[in-house]
Amino acid sequence: MSKFFTSSIGQKFFMSITGLFLMLFLLVHLTVNSLLLFGDGELFNRAANFMGSNPLMKVIEPVLALGFILHIVYASYITLKNMLARPQKYKVTNNTKVSWASKNMYILGGLILTFLVIHLINFFWKIKFGTITAISYDGGKTELHDVYDLVSGLFKGWWWYDAIYILGAIFLFLHLTHGFWSAFQTIGWDNDKWISRLKTIAYIYAIIVAGGFAFIPIFFLLKYVV
């Protein structure tokens, strides 16, 4: 067991588990965000404030951060080691037919990380540590953060923010088309029957998640700007 953590399959196992965990998180995140599309923001504000003040989130937040950190640390380590496994490169670049995403997972991950930093500065940081307008739906008895105002303000105010979020979703889409089924293959949950099913589910998942996240800025552009 001690060798497990340093073995190639062991390290891939952690990539897979953290990847699966992050994919689960994306589903929850998208579910909450989809409330942005309904009504004038009350629904979303209630949900966002519920998530923000829920004691369970105090536990989940660090676990989520750890999930990201482990995924990124292992990704960097594995990618570096794999590059070192071919000290002398080929003159003619490989033209074996494989999916583009599968060869560029680290680059896609890096782009997602860049997006993530911008995203955290925009929302997470402002909600946690900044000042944010308050709103009340019960005549002032309880005050909620007006997160809806923050989100819609950003998306209708600066078109390039919309572009960044749509781009982020595209990178995520590509990462997930490979990552989804690859994670199952890594933990051994795959065979010659399941591989085509998993690849199909990967596309469905990637389209729903990336499409969902990309739709939100598009929705605000259509609603307020056009």
Binding site: S7, I9, N82, L84, A85, K89, Y90, S102, I187, G188
Partner: protein, 249 residues
């Protein structure tokens, strides 16, 4: 037809090595790729030049020694073939063909296009075997094997250890080779006894020898001359994970 060749030449394992350009006339379509190289070497010898060193043996796709990286693909254009099964009809008059040795830390170049694939033998020695009683030959049908398991094990056993999977993989991972070797035993009753130790030891050896880890690009499967499926990699992952979690040593 007349073709242009750009071939990696390297005096010995320590030498720097470089690409050398050759032109070859009179190449017939029905020549195999290796016969084309033979005719190049005959020409070079006649001209008192050093011939190109390349490995070959069976010339019928069963020994796995003819590994050449041709125009960006192990064993060149065409699927499920060794270089010895590639014919010059895959090329056209005036084509330029770049030929490189397998490139991987685990496969150092010995000379020109020949690499040292001893690493695969070392991985096999780490666990790619079964233990049996000596003495009288056992009754062939004493141990029953299901048809499904026999078929699957047989498909895995088709691996000829050529190393194309490593050569094609962007990570120089030997996972398809190891997966085939682990599975061919793990699927059969005779191989079950040592299954855990086998998976653990062969992977440890693979890692130690400097092969990369698998990121499931599937390039190995696409270039394997024997069509070994990455299905076996999932099986190997399963074997390895179960062995790691239940190992008591």
């Amino acid at each position: 037809m007349k073709i242009k060749l750009n071939i990696w030449k390297q005096e010995n394992p320590k030498a720097k090595g470089k690409f050398v350009k050759y032109e070859l006339d009179g190449v017939a379509e029905e020549m195999s790729f290796l016969e084309m190289l033979d005719s190049l070497n005959e020409k070079l010898i006649k001209e008192h030049q050093e011939p190109v060193a390349f490995e070959h043996d069976c010339r019928e796709g069963i020994c796995g020694s003819c590994g050449l990286y041709i125009n960006g693909r192990p064993h060149g254009p065409g699927d499920e073939i060794g270089t010895c099964q590639l014919h010059m009809r895959a090329f056209r008059e005036g084509d330029s063909i770049t030929i490189e040795p397998w490139r991987a830390k685990g496969f150092p170049v010995i000379k020109d296009l020949i690499v040292d694939r001893n690493a695969f033998d070392k991985i096999m020695a780490a666990g790619g075997f079964i233990s049996i009683d000596m003495g009288q030959a056992a009754d062939a049908n004493a141990i029953l094997v299901s048809k499904e398991a026999a078929d699957k094990a047989f498909d895995a056993a088709a691996c000829i250890g050529c190393g194309a999977c490593v050569a094609a993989c962007k990570n120089s991972s030997a996972m398809l080779f190891v997966a085939a070797k682990v599975s061919q035993f793990a699927l059969l009753p005779q191989g079950k006894i040592e299954a855990k130790r086998r998976a653990l030891n062969m992977i440890a050896k693979m890692d130690e020898l400097g092969f990369g880890s698998c990121t499931n690009t599937g390039a190995c499967e696409a270039e394997c001359p024997k069509g070994i499926s990455i299905d076996y990699i999932a099986m190997l992952n399963r074997e390895y994970l179960c062995a790691s979690f239940s190992e008591t040593e």
